[in-house]
Assembly symmetry: C2
Amino acid sequence: MPARVDHDARRREIAEALWRVLARDGFGGLSLRTVAAEMGATTGLVTHYFGSRAELIDHALELLHARTDASLGEADVPLGRASLRTRLLAVLPTTGEAAELSRIWVGFWGLAIVDAGLSAREAARYERWRAWLRPHVAAGWPEADVETSVDLLTSSTHGLVVQALFDPDRFGPERLEALVDAQLARLGG
Amino acid sequence: MPARVDHDARRREIAEALWRVLARDGFGGLSLRTVAAEMGATTGLVTHYFGSRAELIDHALELLHARTDASLGEADVPLGRASLRTRLLAVLPTTGEAAELSRIWVGFWGLAIVDAGLSAREAARYERWRAWLRPHVAAGWPEADVETSVDLLTSSTHGLVVQALFDPDRFGPERLEALVDAQLARLGG
């Protein structure tokens, strides 16, 4: 009798291959065929687990969200400046792993921006991010306009991610940290 | 005798179709076949002018840069706060046309982020953008740290573009203008 296939292990193996394709070639390079090639398997094996490119993209997003949430650390931390600073720094590409995650995010934006359903999911994710920031801003900067501060912190952090990915020589870890501190220092203004 | 083909007119026609494909489907949807279909022409007609998808992408970038530069207005304006504010507002998706241009840029990032050559070109473009901002910051905010201010203005403006594209209801033209003014008000801090 043939050995019983461990379906969970196989799905994990596909997920790892999918992630490597995303990190190297972005969403533009993601297909049933390229994931299969990355595993050295047949396309048929991948379609046994993911019936279409759309299902593969759904799974890629699940992985992207799970890995991003893990990279952000605990959500339930003391309110205020220190926790907020830690969270913003966690978003920036200060390590190779964080840069890989950010590259996949920027690639996802390119996909989502022309897809109404994915755009709506991304808008909802932004709102959850702002909901996390609000009480930290209110606690850390009692004099600040919370919504304005939350929008500017979100903008400057994400815009900095993009600049840093394209120009890592200018935006090394120390420079990124200094820029986050400069933006935080301007929060009460 | 057949009518002489106007090659310049034909190239312009292809460029217009290419732009419509980009605006609707992003770089992921751009190919010789999709541009031909958009024109109601054969793929052979398009390949007569653009030999490969790479050539089509090169031309898309030329158009993207030319239309972006045109949207930014005159480069040679009086130094200082008013000119800087005008330039930042021109980047934001406050009109349908500006939103279309921004959507194509965000899609381009997704392509460039996994392509070393395109990443280097984007880094160089960012440096030209900073070179434009520097004397305006120095003239308008003599007490400010120019490099920090230039990096934060660039980050917050581009990050705001992304948020606004995904959530135009939250980020209408008035809100975008207020956020640019809030960031500018914090520049000297």
